[in-house]
Symmetry: C2
Subunit: 502 residues, 2 copies
């Protein structure tokens, strides 16, 4: 069996070398690639993705997994070897259903669509994107079609990013959350608006970057195993245990960028940097799901990064860096400013209270599009209507409406958005569990120490990589299943205190 | 036949997508990769190189080439299709002799050796590199062994980089050149030394970089299809027709870096950017040999970049950028400084008159090592002796001796160095031919116009990529075979004028 395990690891290593090269090609495209490199890059991405898929779905992998079945049964469920066989089999059984030619076609289409979107969004040209999006929808349906027997056509797409979740289970959770959020937002926005002008001043870009680097280094992000570069759309990517990179963007007139986008991506990075090295080069060597990943980006960005203790420590340092802009702004005013709630157009800029309404809307649209209840051509109107009813604002154009997110123009229609809100919900659960075990965490954070929190997250979540499913991690780490309660409680208490006079 | 050609192009496209991903992995390693990324990167490079080799040597490629033999015979020799079949076959017949496992082993060893060298060179630790170099020598011999029937064991290694050349043919040319160089250098170094203190002043790094960018843009390097980044060891690399990158290094106290390293790499870049797009993704879509490539880097760096006309145009601009340092330095003093000849230790820093003596020495060592006349353990001593006899200086340590060049620590022993001097020789031949056809070139350059020269080089050399062999390009462009005469004449006339009072 040892020989077979070795062989399996070798095969997987090859697949991950290819996948990691794909990740680098993608990172380079988003950071440094000169404009005329785009055409060939799309082809390179498509070829390598297809090869990785071919290698992974090679029948010898299937044979190895088959031959290892008895051995797996003899191993304890928690052992790395058992998990390796189990998770590889799960992924293998999913991937063999997709023809390699389909994988290459989808990848090539995604690259073209991505490039078209890069031009169409600034030009507010939804008409240009319509044929791309229609093809994406068609390909997404084809993809789902490789998994007959689903309850909902979105289920196979959701399982790609959030294994264990279905359209039905997500819908239940989301509608429960929405019932709490709509009145909460209503209540908040009836109050006088918070003044956030202190954030909207000119701030030196280099100083902003240096400060956000300092913060994430204190969080525990390791620059010997990572780096930060500039992009239009921030992301985290990983090429190996020793190379987990983040990107950010800067605005000269708004302190929120790059600060919060850096904290967000650093959260993803801390997760990936925390996975034990032994799992590298296998399906276990990565975060277990989109939702769990988002729980970490949003935990570090919001539950930590927008908290009072954090800024008790960091605000005096920030004032030192920007004395003219912040020297006379009290901590409390700054704290309220970074937590300002408002009905706004852009998901990624949205505050904690309204953010999930953006996500739930997109999730519903994905289901409607896949079900055929909504046509691509009717999407811009549907977008405007739903924005008005849910958020009370209407985008003046498609640029800040249906064209704002890259997801549908670079991925599937279906399974792209639920992870954000699942992440918010789980983030609050994890945070609560960590604080129950270590009630001193907020005080430590107030002293600039993040070690206890990071150690808890590493031990309970990060180190395992994809060894356990989302639900398993949740239950092991918090003792309970997915529950919106801690999240709603967190939002109520935080924004109640800021907005609702007692 | 059309269908077979299409199939061949498809197969080759896949190989080049992999090879270009390898190039990106390498570029990233040398520019932005965080330190802890090194271990996995070596593995990724090795895997992708092996896969590219497997794909290229797939029997279906051989079958296609076989089936296309008659068709090839019917095509004119100069047609792209005929060249594609011919050059692919030549490369295929070479590559099928190398087992894929050997290719992967060599690549993995080269990565390890490269990383070891990065540590050993600053520590002046040749002992640490000895086992690596011994293994490299062993692997180089094995590689040559896949090509039985050679006259000299170095021949297959030389053919890898300079197809058409052999140990014997290179030796003949090099000894002829050496007979001219040794007395020339002797004569020059008997003269009072040139004062180059104007170059050794503090110069702002950003200004140096901006200026060298301005120069290469005027040369014709296209930044929409390229970019420049910083590295320890400058190089040029290509990921596609639309993405040809160069790197450089900076020194705050020496104007020569990054200026001349940028011009050098830009010369390589101009060659690659000048290859017609139709050849992309095939063995034709690259420079035809190391020697021809070096002819272009050295032509732009030296024959153009260290010429009087060039600086008649650029020097006033440079003085404007560095008024304190150069404002009162006359053009003639600057010109003599950038052409200073001296007996020095480092090949890459050597002037035009002594440079080839460094190269010829390394070439001779490669032959001696391969033949078994010289042991790796005796190399440092042999290095010191030969430096003393050829260049009249002895390196105080191995760091600036046998450890200075990366080539043997990252590639083969054999075939690594001859290209530089072949390039110098051919560069002078090409330059001479261009000037015969367009005698106004120097005057144009004096006015900051490089278009006529670039157009001649594009038309006669660059556009063809690897369609023709080095010797074919040489004969087509200059009307003659390889000849040291124009180069010797150029050196004599240039340095005679600078050094030998008339």
């Amino acid at each position: 069996m040892e020989k077979k395990m070795k062989k399996l690891r070798e095969k997987l290593g090859e697949v991950y070398d290819l996948r990691n090269a794909v990740a680098l090609l993608w990172w380079d495209q988003a950071t440094y690639m000169p404009p005329e490199g785009a055409a060939a890059r799309g082809r390179q991405l498509s070829t390598l993705q297809r090869l990785a898929h071919e290698k992974f779905t090679d029948p010898t992998v299937g044979d190895l997994l088959e031959n290892l079945r008895t051995y797996e049964g003899e191993l304890p469920y928690d052992s790395d070897e058992s998990a390796l066989i189990r998770v590889t089999r799960r992924e293998y059984e999913r991937e063999i259903r997709k023809p390699s030619r389909f994988v290459a076609e989808f990848s090539a289409h995604a690259s073209e669509s991505h490039n078209a979107w890069s031009r169409a969004r600034p030009e507010n040209d939804f008409a240009a994107m319509r044929p791309y999006l229609e093809k994406t929808l068609d390909l997404s349906r084809q993809l789902a079609g490789f998994f007959p027997g689903y309850d909902h056509i979105a289920d196979p797409l959701i399982a790609e990013s959030d294994y264990g979740m279905t359209a039905a289970s997500v819908k239940t959770v989301f509608s429960e959350l929405r019932e709490h959020l709509v009145p909460l937002v209503q209540q908040i926005t009836e109050q006088p608006p918070v003044d956030d002008s202190c954030l909207r001043q000119p701030f030196g870009v280099a100083e902003q970057l240096d400060f956000s680097k300092e913060v994430i280094q204190r969080f525990g992000y390791d620059f010997r195993r990572g780096r930060q570069d500039l992009t239009a759309h921030p992301f985290m990517t990983k090429f190996s245990w020793g190379d987990v990179r983040i990107t950010t963007r800067v605005k000269e007139n708004d302190l929120r960028d790059p600060l919060f986008s850096t904290l967000h991506e650093a959260g993803h990075g801390l997760y990936e940097q925390g996975i034990v090295r032994e799992l590298e080069g296998t399906p276990l060597g990565q975060g277990t799901s989109e939702g769990l990943h988002e729980s970490q980006s949003r935990l570090w960005k919001n539950l930590v990064g927008r908290s009072r203790p954090m800024w008790r420590f960091f605000y005096p340092r920030l004032q030192n860096i920007f004395p003219d802009q912040l020297g006379s702004v009290p901590l409390e005013e700054f704290y309220r400013a970074i937590n300002k709630v408002e009905r706004s157009l852009i998901r990624t800029d949205a505050d904690e209270a309204t953010y999930d309404l953006h996500v739930i809307m997109r999730f519903d649209f994905e289901l409607d599009l896949l079900e055929g209840k909504l046509e691509v051509r009717d999407l811009p109107d549907a977008w405007r209507e739903r924005m008005e009813s849910d958020l009370g604002v209407v985008p003046p154009d498609d640029r800040d409406g249906v064209l704002q997110d890259i997801h549908w123009y670079d991925g599937t229609v279906g399974g792209m958005f639920q992870g954000y809100t699942l992440g918010n919900i789980m983030g609050a659960q994890f945070h609560g569990a960590a604080l129950r075990e270590h009630p001193g965490i907020p005080e430590e954070i107030g002293a600039g120490e993040f070690g206890t929190l990071l150690a808890w997250l590493r031990e309970n979540i990060y180190c395992h990589g994809a060894k356990y499913t989302t639900n398993e991690v949740l239950e092991r780490a918090t003792g309970s299943t997915l529950s919106v309660e801690p999240y709603v409680e967190y939002l109520r208490s935080k924004f109640g205190e800021i907005y609702i006079p007692s």
